[in-house]
């Protein structure tokens, strides 16, 4: 039972971390290398909010707001001028953003670790079907599922979702309908970075909050979105579940081989389905 809970919680964490990255790529075609830095920013903002207010739940509101706001500024000021250039301009830009964000966080919060604990209501373990499991992990599973459902609904069942998908497919036509495509793009980027920051805040009680925490998650994020298919939210959900459960099993059987298990899964998917489980096959001329 505890292995299932742990596997699902790992999957939920992986999904929360990679959802923003895959959303931004799917809608804007931008590979945001600074995604991990927004995640780190979310954790630090979460820490600060809790330190000032003592309220963990407030941190889950403030962190994505700050992350989203900063993402919007970055999109307007830096990304927008390079949309029509070669993709490596965007990569270099987001890579530079990593360095800027890390220095800014170092300047504001210093080098020390920051302590973020689970809220008191979720701090004690839960006894479930004869197993002792972490209540906070159960919350993470529910939270991840809620975010996934909200994303599906927003993209598939709302007018905003229709506009966003249309703007990613044919921006000129959408512009011709009187919709401000630039505003849509800013919104999508802000939403993606906000999700990254939310991931940082919600997982802060599980991991060290320190400089460099962004680097440690970005590889996991890329593994998830490559397995799931670049730009596919559905793919990110399935890949996160697959990877989370593979890791849980690997930790149970041979923990020192857990990374081997994860990357083997990645290689198998790339060999059998290079576009990822739910990715669209590239058209070849």
């Amino acid at each position: 039972m505890s292995i299932l809970v742990i596997g699902l919680s790992l999957a939920s964490v992986l999904f929360l971390l990679s959802a923003g990255l895959t959303l931004i790529f799917g809608m804007l075609g931008v590979i945001n290398f600074a995604h991990g830095s927004f995640y780190m920013l979310g954790a630090y903002v979460g820490f600060q909010t809790i330190a000032l207010s003592g309220n963990f739940w407030l941190a889950l509101l403030v962190a994505p707001l700050i992350g989203g706001l900063l993402g919007a500024c970055v999109e307007c000021a830096a990304l927008r001028p390079v949309y029509n250039r070669e993709p490596h301009y965007q990569m270099l830009l987001t890579f530079g953003l990593i360095l800027i964000l890390e220095e800014a966080i170092k300047w504001i919060w210093g080098l020390d670790y920051k302590e973020v604990g689970a809220p008191a209501i979720l701090a004690a373990p839960t006894h479930l079907l004869g197993a002792t499991v972490s209540t906070y992990r159960l919350f993470i599973i529910g939270f991840g599922a809620m975010v996934a459902a909200a994303l599906f609904l927003a993209l598939d069942r709302t007018r905003i979702g229709v506009v966003v998908r249309a703007a990613s497919t044919d921006p000129e036509m959408v512009r011709g309908l009187g919709i401000d495509v630039n505003f849509v793009r800013t919104g999508v980027f802000a939403f993606g970075t906000g999700l990254a920051a939310l991931g940082g805040a919600v997982t802060a009680p599980l991991f060290p909050v320190e400089l460099g925490m962004g680097f440690s998650v970005i590889i996991d994020c890329f593994v998830v979105i490559v397995i799931g298919g670049l730009g596919s939210i559905k793919g990110a959900v399935v890949a996160a579940l697959l990877l989370g459960l593979v890791r849980a099993v690997a930790y149970t059987m041979a923990p020192e081989w857990v990374d081997f298990g994860s990357y083997t899964l990645l290689i198998v998917v790339l060999l059998t389905r290079p576009q990822g489980l739910f990715g669209r096959e590239a058209r070849v001329a």
């Binding site: 505890s2 292995i3 742990i6 919680s9 790992l10 890390e102 170092k106 080098l111 020390d112 670790y113 920051k114 302590e115 604990g117 689970a118 701090a123 004690a124 373990p125 002792t132 499991v133 972490s134 209540t135 906070y136 992990r137 009680p205 599980l206 991991f207 060290p208 909050v209 320190e210 400089l211 460099g212 925490m213 680097f215 440690s216 998650v217 996991d220 890791r247 849980a248 930790y251 149970t252 923990p255 020192e256 857990v258 990374d259």
Partner: protein, 397 residues
């Protein structure tokens, strides 16, 4: 006139001979500066350790006005990023620029890579942090000195801690690399000799982002003690994730350097009661330590961490030895440091092993505590035991 000329000549010869006696015949000419190349992790997760090490070294240099036998000390700081290849690349550049010595690195793998280079290029290497036994294996490295603790002494101190905590059944969680596995093996040998049963062991990749299944296995094993070799970020992750399921209430947690005052700031209440060896503690009751702590507080407004204290003490010791040689020949420094004894280090007497270049020194063990005093950090370490060098180091033959 001839007599006077002869007298002047004799006086001149005598003067030259006297000067030659005062300074060894093989002493090289004084360089314009004594160059220290510090190559440590200054970014990413290692930045918190590197920054403290830098502070400790800065105090050691300030104490002597950054001078050594009349020439200025010049120190350069390079970020190794904690990677062996970057460390070696930056060290090679500094050696090409004529560095007098190298200080670093933090982790064992980059330090071992660095020691191979300094051995080839005959440049002294001062190690205060990396603990791998291989760095000070007897007769192996001529140009490397470690003033900090090694793996064996740390584990034997931890073993002492296990007796203090009265554990009888121990589960081990260890990172999957040589130095950590060595630590666990040393502990297992100790356990076998002291009626402590080993009820399970798990090895994890490092860095590791999830310990929950390993923690679950430890709980199911029926152990009353968990030996943790994981350090830094891994230790923080393990303790935080252990707190999720009340791990501390189910068994005693202890390990070599698993918590210190830096880690306690990261884990808070999850570290209270966790037993650990302590590399150095600001509260140690030695005159040199009191002077250092006072100076450190004045400059940085807080107590020095273990990393700062270790670095300060190692650099202070090394510079004093070099100064006392009155020589600019690196070989003289090496000869003087091997077997050297410092009586007034921040931890009292330390002796540099002539056979292995490993400092023999006291070791501390303690537990994480929650302070109530307003002028102290909320979560910190309390020293509960002091092991003497004879208990934890083998003597040189």
């Amino acid at each position: 006139m001839d007599f006077i000329r002869r007298l002047v000549s004799i006086a001149a010869v005598a003067g030259i001979a006297g000067a030659a006696c005062a300074y060894p015949a093989d002493a090289a000419e004084a360089p314009p500066a004594f160059k220290i190349s510090a190559i440590i992790g200054l970014s990413g997760p290692l930045a918190v350790i590197g920054a403290d090490m830098r502070r400790g070294v800065e105090i050691a240099l300030e104490e002597r006005d950054s001078k050594l036998n009349g020439i200025p000390i010049e120190i350069t700081w390079d970020d190794s990023e904690g990677k062996p290849q970057v460390t070696v690349q930056k060290a090679s550049q500094r050696i090409a620029q004529g560095t007098s010595m190298i200080f670093g690195e933090i982790g064992s793998p980059p330090t071992i890579a660095l020691s191979t280079l300094t051995e080839q290029r005959e440049v002294p290497l001062l190690v205060t942090f990396a603990a791998d036994n291989a760095l000070t294996a007897p007769g192996r490295l001529h140009w490397t000195f470690r003033t900090g603790k090694n793996v064996s002494s740390t584990v034997l101190s931890t073993a002492g801690l296990s007796a203090q905590l009265h554990v009888t059944k121990v589960f081990g969680i260890t990172p999957d690399y040589d130095a950590a596995r060595d630590s666990w093996n040393v502990f297992k040998t100790y356990a076998g000799q002291h009626n402590i049963a080993i009820v399970g062991e798990e090895f994890h990749p490092t860095p590791n982002r999830d310990f929950s299944i390993l923690i679950d296995k430890a709980i199911r094993s029926g152990a009353d003690g968990l030996f943790i070799t994981s350090q830094g970020n891994d230790a923080v992750t393990l303790l935080k994730q252990g707190a999720e399921v009340g791990l501390k209430d189910k068994m005693k947690l202890f390990g070599g350097g698993v918590v210190d005052e830096v880690i306690m700031r990261a884990v808070g209440a999850a570290g209270v009661g966790v037993g650990s060896t302590i590399r150095y503690h600001w509260s140690e009751d030695f005159p040199a330590n009191k002077a250092f702590v006072e100076r450190y507080r004045k400059k940085f407004g807080e107590n020095p961490s273990a990393n700062a204290g270790d670095s300060y003490d190692g650099m202070r010791w090394w510079l004093r030895v070099v100064e006392n040689t009155h020589s600019w020949d690196k070989k003289d420094w090496i000869a003087a440091m091997a077997g050297n004894v410092i009586q007034d280090s921040v931890e009292g007497r330390k002796e540099m092993g002539a056979c292995d270049h490993q400092a023999r020194q006291i070791a501390l063990a303690g537990i994480g505590i929650e302070n109530t005093a307003a002028d102290l950090p909320k979560y910190a370490m309390k020293v509960t035991a002091v092991m003497q060098p004879g208990e934890i180091y083998k003597p040189c033959p």
